[in-house]
């Protein structure tokens, strides 16, 4: 199946895929979206509450309070992952738990836990960014590209 030509499906394969498709239960997209909206919103509300606490009781400003807030959310997410029920919440919440910083913390914690049996260096160290790695690589890269575009526009006298 290496060459592209072979990738083309035969009529029998196409016919079968249609049959398979017709029997496939669909993902409940609307329901999933609603669940994601509420859980995601709930996590953000929690984040906002934590932030308010940092601003009002610990002398942070609106700007500096973001970092300790993320840290607390990351800690909670890592704790829930380690206790073994983050994945169950995520199956229900979908993107609601995946998109906020909690999802990112979960990818790293779960991979670290999973590969603990292979040792701390090659197991945990070598694998903890297995799922989060691509996000970091392409996140940094796109930030870089956007920054270049911004600089060019500024250089040309825009903005």
């Amino acid at each position: 199946m290496s060459d592209k030509k072979k990738k083309k499906l035969t009529p029998t394969q196409q016919e079968y895929q249609q049959l398979a498709k017709s029997k496939e239960p669909k993902r409940p997209i609307v329901l999933n979206t609603v669940k994601a909206f509420f859980t995601g919103g709930l996590i953000c509300t929690l984040g906002q509450a934590i932030k308010t606490v940092f601003v009002n009781y610990f002398g942070f400003t609106e700007e500096t309070a973001s970092n300790p807030t993320s840290a607390v959310l990351i800690f909670i997410s890592a704790l829930i992952t380690s206790l073994g029920f983050y994945d169950h919440i995520a199956q229900w919440a979908g993107a609601g738990t995946a998109v906020p910083v909690t999802g990112f913390a979960n990818t790293i914690t779960s991979a670290a836990l999973e590969h603990r049996t292979e040792g701390y260096v090659l197991g945990v160290g070598g694998n903890m960014f297995k799922i989060a790695g691509p996000v970091i690589v392409f996140g940094v890269f796109s930030a870089f590209v956007v920054a270049i575009i911004k600089l060019i526009i500024q250089g040309l006298g825009g903005m």
Partner: protein
């Protein structure tokens, strides 16, 4: 003896003198729980990794099967085993513990029947008196191998399946009490161009149907003799497709006779999406549930068609389709 193109008929009808089904904590609450020989209350089985835990399951299954057959370990000449972990380490390491001459096999989730057919061939051909066939799968070890870390919060679609934590073993002997292995049909690899690893049932259904029709063609029979025809782990989704495909091939099977191990193993309220899967699925259902029912006299003759998806995480990432296989074995009491 070869009959037709791909079917072996075992003239001496080797006996499954002992069989065992072992499961994990989730399986202890499954629909077929009464038919298991042993459960572990702990997903780790007291080990420090899931891989070692799977090995323990397989060891327990083998030991129980040997014991139930009433033979000594030294009397078992050959051991066939396969599993889903890279380089089939669960099987090989279990063979190290057992110390029985060993042939490792890989047919993904079809390994149970592949092993049983090969063990029967040895016994039928007088190459062995007692041959052991076993297979295992472990939910967490398999998730790690094929998908994401177990605690990773990814939402699975309704077509996904739940890997059975379990091991099954059967001791095939020349003489003894138990169901007899009549014949086996070895499947060919079928690729219908599906590539979604979260919808294995749909990928494997054509392979099961291909093997079932080959079985009928080679033996020149219709399937009315069988009390049950059970596919391995197509799940609810794949089972519906297989039914439709059989209809298209002009094979009519009564609703109550055609079933799927992955569909019946768990209770409806257990969150397993489309159903069970993994090497252990067909193995524990056959070696536990079906064999018990045969012994009770509820079933006279059955056909087990274990299905396997022959993909690897790498082949999937390289955008390859999922080639699938199914092997059938016919048992009679």
């Amino acid at each position: 003896m070869l009959q037709g193109r791909q079917t072996w008929v075992f003239e001496s009808k080797p006996v499954i003198a002992g069989s065992a089904a072992v499961g994990g904590p989730f399986e202890s609450k499954c629909a077929l729980a009464d038919d298991f020989d042993m459960f572990s209350e702990d997903l780790w089985l007291g080990q420090d990794s899931f891989e070692k835990a799977e090995r323990k399951l397989l060891e327990h299954a083998c030991e129980i099967a040997i014991k139930k057959a009433g033979v000594k370990k030294e009397d078992v000449e050959f051991f066939f085993s396969g599993d889903l972990i890279n380089q089939i380490i669960s099987s090989s390491f279990t063979a190290r513990t057992l110390g029985i001459p060993y042939l490792g096999i890989f047919g993904a989730c079809s390994s149970s029947v592949e092993g049983l057919a090969l063990a029967s061939i040895l016994v039928d051909g007088n190459f062995a008196n007692n041959a052991l066939a076993a297979t295992s799968s472990h939910n967490a070890a398999c998730e790690k191998q094929y998908r994401y870390p177990t605690e990773y919060g990814a939402q699975k679609p309704p077509t996904a399946q739940w890997t059975v934590t379990g091991a099954g073993a059967a001791l095939v002997a020349r003489e003894g009490e138990g169901p007899r292995v009549v014949c086996a049909t070895i499947g060919r690899v079928v690729d219908m161009g599906l590539s979604d690893p979260f919808n294995m049932g749909a990928a494997m259904a054509p392979a099961a149907v291909d093997t079932i029709s080959a079985h009928m063609r080679d033996l020149n029979i219709d399937l009315s003799d069988y009390d049950i025809i059970a596919t391995g782990d197509l799940g609810r989704v794949g089972h519906e497709i297989a039914k439709e495909l059989l209809k298209k091939h002009g094979i009519s099977l009564p609703e109550e006779k055609f079933t799927d191990c992955g569909k019946i193993i768990y209770k409806d309220e257990q969150p397993v999406f489309s159903g069970g899967s993994g090497c252990g699925c067909a193995a524990v259902t056959t070696y536990g549930h079906f064999i018990n029912r045969m012994k009770k006299g509820e079933l006279k003759k059955i056909l087990v068609v274990a299905t396997g998806a022959l993909l690897s995480p790498m082949s999937y990432q390289q955008k390859e389709f999922i080639p699938c296989i199914a092997h059938a074995v016919s048992l009679e009491m």
